[in-house]
Symmetry: C2
Subunit: 182 residues, 2 copies
């Protein structure tokens, strides 16, 4: 028994048109989503009304508000489609029950959480130690498609800066490229 099988047997399909939300901050959506097609972003609305982007999601990504489950709270972020998207939706209860019954699923869940944690740790490291310009360059290097598909506004919010600042950074980078080679 694996997570894939669980999905095949118990997941519902959820289709979203561009701009539609899967769930919003404050909702009590207790499901795991797996992206089949499309592109989405998970984002916070901060107390001061500003937006901060947690992550982008491409086909194959899984997401769900863990805190909505772990301690019975509400979703802490929003999930919206940047392009038409199709998701598989699986109640967390089904997943956790699966983990109780199957070692394989438990192992997969542990694996998944480990990977998730390490990605977050990597991001924390970058936020603490790298200037915005370098964070941008790394993002470009590691996921060039994303830069194409997402507005500069959203890239900036993901990097933790404003679109204006990102525009300046891009200019500086291309200047030092042009002037740099001798």
């Amino acid at each position: 028994m694996s997570i894939d099988q669980l999905l095949k047997e118990h997941a519902q399909t959820k289709s979203l048109v561009k701009g539609a939300h899967a769930f919003r901050q404050g909702d009590r959506d207790e499901s795991l989503y797996v992206v089949q097609t499309g592109l989405l972003k998970a984002y916070y609305i901060l107390p001061d009304g500003k937006e901060s982007i947690k992550t982008f999601l491409k086909p194959g990504s899984m997401i769900g508000s863990l805190s909505a489950n772990y301690n019975g709270g509400a979703c802490t972020f929003n999930l919206v489609a940047l392009q038409d998207a199709r998701l598989s939706q699986l109640p967390f209860t089904v997943l956790l029950e699966g983990a109780r019954k199957s070692h394989e699923i438990a192992r997969e869940v542990i694996e998944f959480l480990l990977a998730l944690y390490m990605k977050k740790e990597q991001r924390e490291y970058e936020l603490l130690s790298l200037p915005a310009a370098e964070r941008y360059q790394r993002l470009c290097a590691e996921d060039p498609d994303l830069i194409e598909q997402v507005t500069q506004n959203d890239i900036a919010l993901y990097l933790g800066i404003t679109p204006v600042a990102l525009s300046r950074i891009k200019k500086r980078l291309q200047l030092s490229e042009d002037g740099g080679h001798h």
Copy 2:
């Protein structure tokens, strides 16, 4: 079978005097540590030689370099005692084997990873959205003892700023306190 029992049966005790390291960046230490007594910090040395503090550890905390295990890599950070400390050391292999055999342990591991992930997510949120002054105030509110026991230098490195900046922030805060009440 629980993690506590595993520890009782298989863990070794490791004692550290103030300033001694449990492991260092680059080591291949594949153990889980549980703090019994003392105070420790986990920190990175950045490429430019600067230090960045990942977390402080008080009795009851667990830690270990997940990436040293998850993908057979080396430790990505250092663990050092800020005060004399006593740790329980358990090989990860024992823990993972335990999780394979016991649902209870698997559940505890999942629980632990979930909690770990949510703490990181919280920190990411704060790094992205809060100014340094507010991050400091939150830290003071949520863990006042820590502020007492740790040098201002380390507090600053944990907050992602320099000790100089933290000193300025403290001054500003106490000014706005004194001037603030009317």
